[in-house]
């Protein structure tokens, strides 16, 4: 079997999802053996920036014309484009409050020099190009990316659970921060896959993985209402990491 040609790219973001790949210390050498990684600027200075790719993994949001052109080029050369991480899938923290006047913010921060900067309001990848697969998480979980690669190597598209963090939290029998403490926990509405990392540590979920499509929104809102948590407070939390409308 020929190894699939893969590119790993970062648009504007924190590089956390690429770092998660490099953090697969036990699997990394096997991973790079199973794939033909042609273009990975964060890890290599010998990259083929033109060749066609079977799979492109792209993290970060589109925040400049340069990002947009880069993403269009990646799309052109790739069979499958995978949006990797919450910024790529949902816009991420840079996209919150997109309606804020960017020019004013730039002028405020950089002075007159800011006017010349190449910067645009943050967009998720699907707002610019068609995306074949979404891996959400801030950052993505190792198991997600390893599972996705294993599936793709077998010619399958990976399927991820669309249940909320709440489900994983209850399975693990953690105390409920919302019911017992009245904490503003986004677990009922946020997509699972993190094994309820934060509630396990008694920290309310901040919604960093984006919304779950299989969440029971009406009952979650009723539960928040019963505990005196206004709808706007929940909405503001969810908009922090996942401000962009669905893909």
């Amino acid at each position: 079997m020929t190894k699939p040609r893969v590119g790993i790219f970062g648009l504007t973001g924190c590089a956390g999802d690429q770092l998660v790949i490099l953090n697969c210390e036990d699997q990394l050498l096997d991973l790079v053996g199973a794939l033909d990684i042609r273009d990975f600027l964060m890890a290599s200075s010998a990259n083929d920036t033109e060749c066609p790719l079977e799979v492109a993994l792209v993290e970060g949001a589109v925040l400049s014309r340069r990002d947009e052109e880069h993403l269009l080029r990646i799309r052109e050369r790739s069979q499958l484009l995978v949006a990797m991480g919450t910024c790529a899938v949902w816009g991420g923290v840079a996209a919150m409050d997109r309606e804020v006047d960017r020019a004013a913010l730039l002028a405020d921060i950089y002075g007159p020099a800011g006017a010349g900067y190449d910067t645009t309001p943050a967009r998720a990848l699907h707002e610019v190009v068609p995306v074949d697969l979404h891996l959400s998480g801030c950052p993505i979980e190792k198991e997600q990316v390893l599972g996705a690669v294993a599936n793709l190597l077998n010619g399958d598209l990976p399927a991820f659970p669309d249940i909320p963090v709440c489900a994983e939290c209850r399975m693990a029998e953690h105390n409920c921060l919302l019911i017992e403490k009245g904490a503003v926990c986004c677990g009922p509405l946020t997509v699972a896959g993190c094994q309820a990392r934060c509630p396990e540590l008694r920290i309310p979920c901040v919604g960093c993985r984006g919304p779950a499509s299989d969440a029971s929104i009406a009952s979650a809102l009723a539960m928040f209402g019963e505990r005196g948590i206004p709808r706007e407070a929940i909405a503001a939390k969810l908009r922090t990491f996942a401000p962009v409308n669905g893909h």
Partner: protein
């Protein structure tokens, strides 16, 4: 006239490049280009509750996410007059060490060492020297284990909050950590062997101004409020709250990072600056490692920052082991974080991220909502110094072929361990003093 360009600097975190224009034999223009998109995060946290600030601003950078999260928390606690327990401070020290070990291992083995041995990447290096790459992976994993144990996640820690921690590590987790750290000590010896075997990188010499946080008798990355600026034997101290006198920034048209100078001179932050400023408090492992790598302080070679990171890596593992042993011996008190009561005011915190000084400064209203936030990152502080060292290197290597010179400049930039995502940050224009 000729131009040397590195369009897109590889093996760094974020998006940057190098431009050097020559005219005759003279250097006309030198630029460390930063074209990472501006996310304007400090502007976007305005109006948010104090609880939201650290999770949002840790997203400035993944590799420094512990430093951003804990510096953010330290600034918020200062603004509210919160004093955390000594146990919380010890755990924060340990969490910082985890980040430093992971970050230094990633930088040394995956980003920097391939340069010395003429490989494009650690993956290519692994084909010929698998042991060296596996060594780096083990040390990286050790740093991540600390971050997972104390911070709850290797990238963007979730367990540290204003006042303390969500949940304390269990006894079993600490025992596992101690075991891993004991094994890590042997890997540190092998790291020094590898670093000592690398060919010399002597192509840029310049008297350098250094700036680093002082942390008393300790080599803590987290504690302390005073920054030392070292210049040609002189030493000046600046309090964290007066950070603007150090970070006096001017926007540069070619860069989304602002340039910092101290009395008109660029300065270097990071491992080499820390070792130089803290020579009096190095542990014996660090002193041995300095000798082993023939690193004489102060160094006039910026590429020595790689050696300095190796020295810190060795000392970090030793300190993390001592901390884990102490926590196991004394036992963890099952304490909840101290209460956090918002009040109006400003808090400024400084710490040492793996790549150098990091400042977070916030002003809150009486409800604990952000009125203003300012973050100054190490790579933004280093940007002017990187360009200054480029200029010296171009002059000192006038006979080099353009391609060879470009590689040298890349090595200099990479030695700073630049984190370009970090360097794109917001600084409010009118505030600069």
């Amino acid at each position: 006239m000729g131009t040397i360009r590195v369009e897109h600097l590889a093996r760094v975190e974020g998006h940057g490049g190098i431009t050097v224009e020559l005219e005759g034999g003279a250097v006309r223009r030198v630029q460390f280009d930063i074209f990472e998109g501006a996310r304007l995060l400090e502007g976007l946290v305005r109006g948010r509750s104090y609880e939201d600030v650290s999770p949002i601003l840790s997203r400035i950078c993944a590799i420094c996410s512990v430093a951003h999260a804990l510096t953010s928390i330290k600034a918020t606690e200062k603004a509210f007059g919160v004093r955390v327990s000594p146990q919380t401070e010890l755990l924060r020290d340990l969490l910082f060490l985890g980040e430093s070990i992971e970050s230094h291992a990633l930088h040394l083995f995956f980003l920097a060492v391939p340069d010395y041995l003429d490989y494009p990447s650690a993956v290519a290096l692994a084909a010929d020297k698998p042991g060296a790459v596996q060594l780096g992976l083990r040390l990286k994993k050790l740093g991540n284990l600390i971050q997972e144990t104390i911070g709850g996640r290797a990238v963007h820690p979730v367990n540290a909050v204003p006042g303390g921690f969500g949940r304390l590590p269990s006894l079993d987790q600490l025992i596992t950590l101690r075991q891993a750290l004991r094994q890590g000590v042997a890997d540190c010896g092998a790291t020094l062997d590898l670093m000592a075997s690398l060919p010399p990188a002597e192509f840029c010499h310049a008297q350098t101004v250094f700036a680093a946080l002082l942390a008393g008798e300790d080599y803590s990355y987290y504690r302390g409020d005073q920054v030392a600026v070292l210049s040609n034997g002189a030493r000046e101290i600046i309090a964290a709250a007066a950070y603007r006198s150090l970070t006096n920034e001017t926007p540069a048209p070619h860069s989304h990072a602002k340039h910092s100078c101290y009395w008109g001179r660029p300065f270097m932050v990071g491992a080499l600056a820390r070792l130089t400023a803290r020579r009096d408090v190095l542990n014996c492992r660090a002193t041995e490692a300095l000798e082993r790598l023939h690193l004489v302080l102060p160094s006039d070679n910026p590429v020595d920052n790689n050696k300095a990171q190796a020295v810190e890596l060795v000392a970090d593992v030793e300190r993390a082991l001592a901390l884990a042993e102490r926590l196991l011996k004394e036992g963890l008190a099952e304490e909840r974080g101290v209460p956090v009561v918002p009040r109006a005011g400003t808090g400024t915190a400084v710490t040492e991220a793996p790549r150098g000084l990091l400042f977070h400064s916030y002003t809150y209203d009486e409800q604990g909502r952000v009125l203003a936030a300012d973050v100054i990152t190490p790579t933004a502080l280093n940007a002017a110094s990187i360009e200054d060292h480029f200029r010296h290197a171009v002059r000192q290597n006038a006979g080099s072929e353009p391609a060879a010179l470009a590689r040298k400049l890349e090595m200099i930039a990479r030695a700073y361990d630049p984190c370009i995502s970090c360097s794109v940050h917001l600084v409010r224009q009118g505030d600069a003093t």
